[in-house]
Symmetry: C2
């Protein structure tokens, strides 16, 4: 018999080439698989809710794996066992036994990302790799106005990077259910919740809003990209750096 | 003619073997001297208010150096010039022209250190190297009580590490003018202001308070160490790790 375990994970993305296992680069998924092997002495796959890119952080990434009942591991022991086996920049926050039906990727209903912009003229040494430092004057009102056009169901083709040949998604229509703009003076937090995001979608939206709010692009043109995306056509004028992006939470039914 | 420049510096201490230049290890002072050389093409010494140890951070370290008038450098250009030449984990926050009488070390009147303790059972990956994570139960009231005994002028010999033969300070009497205990739930910030601190003094005080507040040492014994330090005698029962320590500010007359 197998038990399916759901884990919630936080990580500092600065030292990793993203979530997904790949040759020649250290990734978060690989670290988790290595930790799981140390605990169980069995090779098993840890399946995440989705990829995060190089340098992107997480406060609530979700993954699952199957563990043999023979382990006789109490559910309360998974968190300390993982955290002893993992490096300090990856932490398992929670472990729950779930039904065999649960799937971290296919079952994900809503994801919330947070993007942090810092506008101070001198970036704190403690925020390197954690924020997008843009010391230029940006109009916060216009940023919010630009951000709000993305709420709802749209064809986000102009706000998606190509992953390369053969890996194009079938549809570029997605729904953003909520955006939040939190103004803390020199720090701006943008939260975006949706039923799924295309590759680099959050960063291309944030980049577009930044261009508009600093007077380097017209809001009407951004709206045009959203309303009339052409296949292989114009893309968002800017992709915000990975540094400021954090996967906050993933919700399941 | 020379102009004396006072700079205020912030740094993330994680990547440095402390402030002071030394062979075979990268230090903050060395980075600043290198940056100054890049700017002026002249070897000059950057003199700090005092050392900070390996892994200790700063938000308001102060230093000075002398620059030739021939440079014709506008005072407003020093900050961007330094920050272009420095790595991102060291930032010059401010540059001011001061009189020849100013000396960053000998003129320092008050220093404020902040020590951050985090008591959560799972340390956030974003706080690694930035706090002392002590998930054990600590009694905040007793911690404050222990902390308060240090205010005033005392012989802190039991709260000073030896720097090695020949480098002992003449006197181990120091004055702590103020302590502050800021309780933010899982984060505790302790601020300590004084006219000067002995080697590892803040960390030995914090370590002692931690021992007392977690019931592993008597407050009376800590008081005893403060009231009756013996030369070469008993030391504070614990030295808190460098991670949690930040030099907040240095004040001059």
């Amino acid at each position: 018999m197998m038990a399916r375990i759901k884990i919630t994970i936080a990580y500092d993305g600065r030292n990793y080439a993203g979530w997904q296992i790949q040759p020649n680069h250290m990734t978060v998924q690989q670290r988790l698989c290595e930790a799981l092997y140390k605990i169980t002495k069995v090779e098993s796959r840890v399946i995440g809710s989705g990829r995060t890119d190089t340098g992107v952080h997480a406060q609530g990434q979700v993954a699952h794996f199957d563990a043999s009942d023979n382990l006789q591991m109490n559910i309360y022991n998974w968190v300390p066992a993982f955290n002893t086996a993992l490096p300090l920049d990856i932490r398992v926050l929670k472990a729950e036994e779930v039904s065999d039906e649960f799937h971290a990727q296919f079952g994900a209903k809503l994801k919330t990302y947070e993007y942090r912009i810092n506008i101070s003229s001198i970036l704190s040494p403690f925020l390197v790799g954690r924020v997008w430092n843009e010391p230029r004057q940006l109009d916060k009102k216009i940023f919010q106005e630009a951000l709000n056009i993305f709420v709802g169901e749209h064809d986000f083709a102009a706000f998606a990077a190509n992953r390369g040949l053969g890996s194009e998604p079938l549809s570029t229509v997605r729904e953003i259910t909520q955006v939040e703009f939190i103004d803390e003076g020199e720090d701006i937090y943008v939260r975006m919740t949706g039923r799924g995001f295309l590759y680099k979608m959050v960063r291309l939206i944030i980049g577009g809003c930044m261009k508009v709010s600093s007077g380097r692009y017209y809001l009407e043109d951004l709206q045009q990209l959203l309303d009339h995306p052409e296949v292989g056509g114009t893309k968002s004028p800017l992709c915000a750096p990975a540094d400021g992006l954090t996967l906050k939470s993933v919700e399941y039914e």
